[in-house]
Amino acid sequence: MSIREPNKTITVTIDGQECRGEWGQTILQVARANDIYIPTMCYLSKVEPIASCRMCVVEVEGVEGMILSCQEKAVDGAVITTNSDDLYRERQNITRLYDVNHPLECGVCDKSGECDLQSKTVEFGVDQQTFAARDQHRPVQDWGFISYDPSLCILCEKCVRVCNEVVGDEALQISVGGYKSTIINTKLDQQCAECGECMAVCPVGALVSTDFKYTANAWEMEKIPASCAHCSSGCQLYYEVKHTSIDNPDPRIYRVTNEHEFSSLCGAGRFAFDYANEGVQQDARAFDQAVTALRQADTIRFSGVITNEEALLLERLREALAVRLVCDDAYGYQRFLAAYRSISGSTLYEASLKTVADSQAVVVFGTRIYDDNPMVKYHMAMASKHHKARIVYLHPMEDARIQNLVTQYIKYEAGSEEGVAALLAATLLAGKTVSDPLAGVLDNLDIGNLSAESNVGEEELDTLKRSLWKKEGFTLIVGADLYNHPEAENIARFIAAIERYSDFKVLIVPPATNARGVAEICTLSEAVEGYTVGYNAPGDFVLSALGDGDLDMPALNQQEGTLTTVDQRVVPTHPALPYEGYTLNQLANALGVGSRYTIDQTPHLPRDKGYKAIAFDDLPDYFDALGGEHRGYLLSPGEVETRDVFSEIEELPAYDGLVVYRCNEGSAFGPFDARSVHRKHEAVLKGSEQFAVAARLKGGERIRFELDGESYERVFRIDTTLKGTVAIHPVWDRGLSAFALSSYRFSQLKFETTGNE
């Protein structure tokens, strides 16, 4: 897995077949890449080999005994046998041991039909048990959203590994005790990430979703391939649908699964699937009104939770109707990208999720990444676990949930991001040859002053610099705090400079599901003007997929189209549920710019922005045997003219006193996620004890405050994992108005108390 290995090809002979592989690949990987089957039980591609099952044994000529193919690197010229009588007997014995005392409950087990133990038992013909072990009382454990049945558990350890190595949560442990061994959840009371990854990788029915349990069988549900619509990672998933009930033949989503061998999901993707706009019929009057509204509109305001095709339709409407397009989710991001490009000279940033995972040093700046994009956090965890990566986390608020990954936390004052960006650039580019204008700015920096104002100590930056020594693979992750900062453009230039003149690759995390697509496809204006039609956003006439507008629209799990992800990849998504109402494409048709189907727009996505002229139905959507991702396509890089202009840094803004930070704590991704009955979040203002003292508030008190022209009434809760005087202010419960926020994420708080909860 190390990144330093050369790409040398090797040739081995497996079962008489000549196979090519790369140097450093294991025997199992070479076999899989060449379509040769080696049975495994505990092997999980996305973590380091676990080697607990010994099912993958093979024989290598000239080597005594059996060899674990999941661990052993393939050596050039090796002659390998994957199947012999001895190997068969060995595997049969392993299966026998797994089967001892295993409850005979396939008839009711949720895993039945896709259970690895079931398959192996059939494959190796274990049809009776001839010996027994002393049985234990092992009651089912309720972990809240998941239930764990220790008597079904085969202790393959996949769940533990995935929780540690991929999610980075370290919630699960194996309690070793011979036949009494079980898995324990050490974070039952502090709440683990509730992502369900452990459940997804469990090869048997030991870990199952509590809400799903016993409601449907694996073979009854149709798997609809799609992409998650909650954040900008656009993770691969399958909606599993079947009829709702005996008297209701309409399909319902029962659960979400994914290609868990290679890719992952967070809790929102896995459990918040029930956000469809259901029971909608075509309402011709509302449709006519919508057409009229669009004709007379001055502005169309929309959210970033939208497909590329819809974004293109909106852009067409903008041209045809001469309206302004306002997308609060994407506007700041678009400007930020433009400023970034003016220095980097390329339309694409260099990092991807994979480069994050392969890095040995990751710097995170301007994002509470755990909540903004869980998949980026997963990849940080992989970097940490697989490459012992340094993770430097710069943010005004420490995040206790990633404490185990972060090797250095640098706190800066809210509002001082521009200074921090400059300091970062000065630190990371020290000793590098940079362009004259940049050198001018960096030389002129009043480091002492910036350091004092932003509260980032020079020693901290020294430590950061020193910790990068002798490392390879650097990623700088920047996020949503920066995009709407008053000095966002200058920050973007510093970030781009770091990428251009150092070994750092930059990942500019889109702030909403398809903010990247919107930023590429639409010509956006900053603010609304005049009569406004809102599409999943407030307005004078509202088209809403939440079902609360003037005309209903399909939610993203009822639509086909593509999304542009944080990986700069265009991924397809398919509708899981039917939708009988009108779509944006039909509105566009009525106004003369639509197409027959929404997806007819796919090949017309702007080529100059890196999109390709590939029809929707021709987009690939699979992972290959070794986990190579073939979903849609990657945006093609393009060149941009550079303008080497940096602004001098003026006084940094100060946010004294009480500050709130707008952030969807607990990876709650907004109104669609909020509709889910499977996810339990509480929309409260969360602050530290210090905050409570400073604000003279007690936990449970109700306060009212105004931000961005919206009035909020919130219960205040003390969260002992927080520190400092910044409180977390969630907006996911605010319906469509949550999509109309484009201010800087930190704001000063003035409030009045209105009693107790």
Binding site: L104, G107, V108, S112, Q128, Q129, T130, F131, A132, A133, R134, D135, V140, T210, K213, Y214, T215, A216, N217, W219, E220, H243, S245, I246
Partner: protein, 207 residues
């Protein structure tokens, strides 16, 4: 193919044989003679002999052969495949069905629907179960696949009704709890083979 062509189609060489019947009288006189002959030889009563005998038995000796359907019904064979029955466990009275969904899966007519949930007793609970008898072809696959001998075919063959739903729900098919003692094992299609005891291996257990 038209009807004409159909009738004249080449069906190969047929080996028909004519029966050796006496001639049908051709003239009116000949027909008259045949009627007189048949009447005088009391041929009619030869034909009615059995009828009269049975009538006498029925009228005077109370020996009736007609089944007075629907007041009387003939017993059906044990392998007859009519409306399904849902069995209970003899010991606990709990329904046998474990909600595995195999019958739903195997049914070639897609007649079965089952709804299950996680029950309070931590078991898989059958919330509703129904067979659409408008679709069922009484093939018996469901009874054969059932791992619990929970669904079997019963002898209830009268499937005409105003509301098919009236006998297609779980409760309608389930052995009434007060008649558990009368519940009989189904010996037909899908039941355990008579030598099952010999063929089943006991799983060793240790507590």
């Amino acid at each position: 193919m038209s009807l004409e062509q159909f009738k004249n189609r080449n069906v190969g060489v047929q080996h028909y044989r004519m029966l050796d019947l006496s001639h049908t009288p051709q003239t009116g006189w000949g027909q008259f003679k045949q009627v007189v002959r048949r009447t005088l030889s009391l041929e009619l009563f030869v034909g009615l002999k059995v009828t009269l005998r049975e009538m006498t038995k029925a009228l005077f000796f109370g020996k009736m052969h007609t089944t007075k359907y629907p007041f009387e019904k003939l017993p059906v064979g044990p392998r007859y495949r009519a409306i399904h029955e849902m069995k209970r466990l003899l010991e606990s009275g709990h329904y046998r069905c474990i909600g595995c969904g195999l019958c739903e899966k195997i049914c070639p007519a897609d007649a079965i629907r089952i709804e299950t949930a996680y029950g309070e007793d931590q078991r898989k609970q059958v919330q509703e179960y129904t067979i659409n008898f408008g679709r069922c072809i009484f093939c018996g696959y469901c009874a054969e696949v059932c791992p619990e001998l929970a669904i079997v075919h019963g002898g209830r063959y009268e499937t005409a009704s105003e509301q098919r739903a009236s006998f297609s729900l779980f409760d309608d098919m389930l052995t009434p709890i007060d008649r558990l003692k009368e519940q009989k094992e189904f010996p037909g299609y899908g039941s355990v083979s008579p030598d099952a005891d010999k063929r089943i291996h006991k799983t060793p257990l240790a507590y």
